[in-house]
Symmetry: D2
Subunit: 375 residues, 4 copies
């Protein structure tokens, strides 16, 4: 560990630079007070942060779930949730981390007091967004309902942090949460995937990490479907045994061909395409399972009869539960797949709007755009 | 037990009366050879059989899943699957049952050799329908792909049979499989339902039995939704704490009202209504679960985004797996709910077409129509 | 609900009467300040509390698990954990309960920040006992590591509380946690118990509640083993289909006889007898499961080979996890079993030492001795 | 695949060489008729077979579980269960395999008709050993209760077979079942092991494969304990992050040291040492799990109180259930660990007694001794 005395004594300024949201779509770089960590919290100096498609959504429309009390458009709200950094201050009673520890973060800190948190489903916390005012239940989702990481510092609940190995770069560490979401998706479908057929639909960041995680878990074959050959090539490098360009071949037919008409065991749907549920169902054998990590904005026709007749289970998931980021980070530490393949661009904090533009418009085939601080 | 020596020596005729399917919709009463039980099978003298909505479907269109090898319209096929009777002959090696035992049956005898059977999911057997000719894998689904119970005798795999308690009538025993399906639906959603809110959508036979089973398991409250007050009243007698006539009140609003805006934990969907998945989702709290035991025939618009954002799991099920009929029969033996409330009409074997007509057209508010043999 | 305005305005005194522990075995009635509820906590006016065998242990030897920081013999510690009462004050942000609500409590409020709490196993919290001083992690186990209920008031985390139905007496409500422990024991073994054979070993309070819960869940048969006929009789009233006095018949032989050599599916071991694990194992069929809710103080010979050869799983449990008290309370509210049968004696707060003496020495066949406050 | 026409037309002789058991300990090479495959079975020409410690046990004392009907000392019984070979004949209805397929086998073919088989726990089949005479239930455990692999041919149920990849040697393929047992042990403890601490006790074949499988699944750290440095070195090559020679350091202390007092999450106990359960328990953190894949012959003192107070679950397992051999074979195909490291010696079929002697007496540090056929 590089926890030098210097780091431990590092001065924390009173003010910090932070991007804040004004009206929808409006981001401004301001000075804000550095926040203070409370019980079970630490202060993280942010070293790098990746841009997620959900950030673009939040900046335009607010968080995807109902906010009760916390309105990003009225709070000098700082978005951004895929970040990593260095612990610079511990809240009272914290000894799970030390000042100087490099950490990467996940999003959801459940309230710990609702039924879902009590059963371990903290990403489905019933008090989501309840972190304000009179009805403060202690839930945090940095970058969604509480201040996030397009800033110099952020406060994190210790439940949201994973130690970063010494030999993992800052940029790579920002991708742990993405890999964790993919891992959680595989977990909720059942967990025993070695030797099983896994189809990943959609070679976005979660889908590509899903390929890496599925292969690390021993899935065989791993099939990736998508529309862009360059993305599919990265999938191959991450461990996909087969890639299918759905502009050239029907995805369902391809899966049947590859599996010799047996069908797949699991589909991790990361495309959000309107017909994705129906296609996923038809890729599966009877009793197969679908995890939805993406979705179309509007209601779409679903062949519900097919799901029932074929005993198919469909799992909608939020985030990266069951400590999946810890497991994903372990795989990345063990070099089971090269997450860095999806990191394409880097910008400094001052250039967050450019970084976001690259991510939104996929300029120069951008996949993951990272903002790297210069301390 | 009433296994007298007399029963044990009961003569089995060489021929029997059986209804067989000709062209779609065409049923004829014929004489057929009494079948012989093989390894792990017994011969059952049928004493009573209930008419299921699926029977109507099969008689018109064939079984709902792909048949490979077994075509009911070319085989003197006998439909009917909700039957009970008396064991009259044991196949080789069978000692799990005795001649004279009263038994009721479930549908699925898995092949025992596919991946799903190996993991205990025998109602999703990958060799469904494979009981014929060169590719005989040993799967049986009496009344679906192998001869069923609108006849005097049928052969049953021992995996499909449950002992009937002495004080349970033949008619009531035909309802065990219906209750078993409802129980399986609750099981796949997680199993711990005491004190949890269960909504049952649709007061058909499975829905009504679902009310009884959910209450027996301690669900609280149990809410039943439907369109007909007389059916809802039966639901109340079976244990529903609240009934909602969706013609008079919006079902989602009603569930919110009853649960004081907490939402339900589980929805057992038995209506097959086009908007059922969307309504079920909106009845649930975050992280809630839906089991689909019915479905609309055509694809319907589904708000997939809502499922994902609310971490909802949707379980399509076939039949009555995990030995759920055994558990349902135990509850019925313990008088936890009065299944007989859904039995409305009785006819003799000769009147199967009339029985089916009553069931199809819901004549005199028919719910479960039973055909009772006169031996 | 009886939440009248009067209750809501009820004055809370600054001081209260409380029994505190001095040297081992030494209890004194003193005046202590009434504690104040913090975040996610309420103040409960205690209305009744039952004496548990573990209380006797704690009073003599301290809590059964390692205490880190909280030593009951140096803190004016108040023991007692099986209590119920009335909410009289809400901590900041609490709206899950109202002033005036009648509640009964469970023991464990996990820290919410360790691996076990994160996965929902809060009774196995890795920060057990960490509620003091510099390393305060927020764990509470009232009556074990934090002040308990032999007093007029106690502070409770909202995770430890269940609403008491209007028609349940104070005395009965103190038994919910005992039934909850039994229910949790059945849950960890798998959950689907309807129609399965459950053996309960040992007719102490947990064992007797285990009989009631197992029967409520549909177990069939429920077999209770023990040494005292009067206790076994109560077991029969609570739903045991068979009772076995092990002084008169070998327990393993009896289970084989009753199950016609099939063996049991589950054993809930509540006796703590030295040979209990070996006997439980031999009662089971292959693949059966044992839950240990009691234990002998000293290491005992165990036939480990038998466990492995027969594929037996053994579950040691702490407390009443997975919100089992909520489920147990639902069954009690639904009158599925009469928990009051195990309540035998009642004393006022002043007579705690007598209550404890009755419980320890089983005077007049005492089972559950309750201390009832007179407000 | 190397399924040439030549292979498909390969002549099967009427007689074969096979080692058979006479009195305990007595093995003779005889000529026996080549067996015929029935429904769901194939005939396998054996190409290689490994010697397992259980073989030694069976040859001296008979199978470890109750045999009902099949007594190896009276049947010209052929032992041996860790074999692989080539499919040379298909039973009726088999199309899951082709003549010429290379396959490796697992032991248990459940009856498919008992409660355990119905729920997928086929290695705990309640009809274990029931493959003879009037009460033939169809169970098979080749080398235990039905003829095994120290012979030229054997009949196998298709449920017991896994395809061998082209680039895996015959010798390596005999080790799949050993790796499968280790994988099953990890599975029954919960399945999500990436980033978790796994201790493997005992560097025998299952333990060493356990190290490889645990590391393949992402466990971190993997700790191996044992008494022999040369075995521990092989463990290091198979992926152990730490090895502990228990003659030099207390195993519990070592685990605490390595995990910085956090304790392990899982212990896979493969040593059978008398104090193994107690040591495993003390290696774990609260809520940890032990899987017992080995056992001492005699009852041993177990600190049951420690298990209960620390919420520890103990899983006794038989064999390699849940299709674990398929998953293990996938990992081996993917070269996740080098199983060949435990293969130390090879002998021809004629030298089975020498092979067994090497295995029993660990001559020249023998770990896995393989008998290789010369066709």
């Amino acid at each position: 560990m590089a926890n030098t005395g210097q780091t431990k004594n590092m001065a924390i300024p009173g003010k910090m630079k932070a991007w804040v949201l004004g009206n929808p779509g409006e981001l401004t770089l301001v000075e804000k007070p550095v926040p203070q960590p409370g019980q079970a919290e630490v202060l993280v100096r942010i070293d790098a942060i990746a841009v997620c498609a959900t950030d673009l959504e939040i900046i335009q429309h607010g968080p995807p779930a109902l906010i009760q009390g916390g309105d990003p458009f009225n709070k000098n709200f700082t978005p951004g949730h895929e970040y990593m950094g260095t612990v610079v201050k511990l809240g009272p009673g914290v000894d799970e981390f030390d000042v100087g520890d490099r950490v990467t973060v996940e999003i959801h800190a459940g309230c710990g007091r609702c039924e879902r948190c009590r059963e371990g489903m903290y990403t489905a916390c019933l008090n989501y967004g309840m972190n304000y005012g009179d009805r403060n239940k202690g839930h945090r989702a940095n970058g969604f309902t509480t201040d996030g990481g397009f800033a110099e510092y952020a406060v994190n609940n210790i439940n949201t942090m994973v130690h970063v190995p010494d030999d993992m770069s800052d940029e790579e560490a920002t991708l742990v949460v993405t890999a964790g979401t993919a891992m959680y998706g595989l977990d909720v479908m059942g967990g025993l995937v070695a030797g099983q057929t896994v189809v990943v639909m959609g070679p976005g960041p979660i889908g590509l990490m899903g390929v890496g995680v599925a292969k690390a878990l021993g899935a065989q074959p791993v099939i990736l479907t998508g529309t862009r050959d360059n993305r599919l090539e990265i999938g191959t490098k991450l461990g996909a045994d087969h890639v299918v360009n759905v502009r050239k071949e029907d995805a369902v037919e391809a899966v049947k061909r590859i599996t010799r008409d047996q069908g797949a065991h699991y589909v991790l749907e990361c495309s959000g395409a309107p017909n994705a549920v129906n296609e996923a169902a038809r890729m599966l054998n009877r009793g197969g399972r679908i995890c939805l990590a993406a979705f179309p904005q509007e209601p779409v026709p679903v062949d519900v009869a097919y799901l029932v007749r074929n005993n198919i289970y469909v799992f909608g998931i939020r985030g990266e539960g069951k400590s999946a980021t810890h497991r994903a980070c372990a795989f990345m530490q063990q070099k089971r797949f090269n997450a860095r393949l999806i990191h394409t661009h880097t910008f400094p904090l001052e250039d967050v709007p450019t970084a976001i533009k690259y991510a939104r418009e996929r300029i120069e085939d951008a996949i993951k755009v990272v903002v790297k601080m210069r301390h």
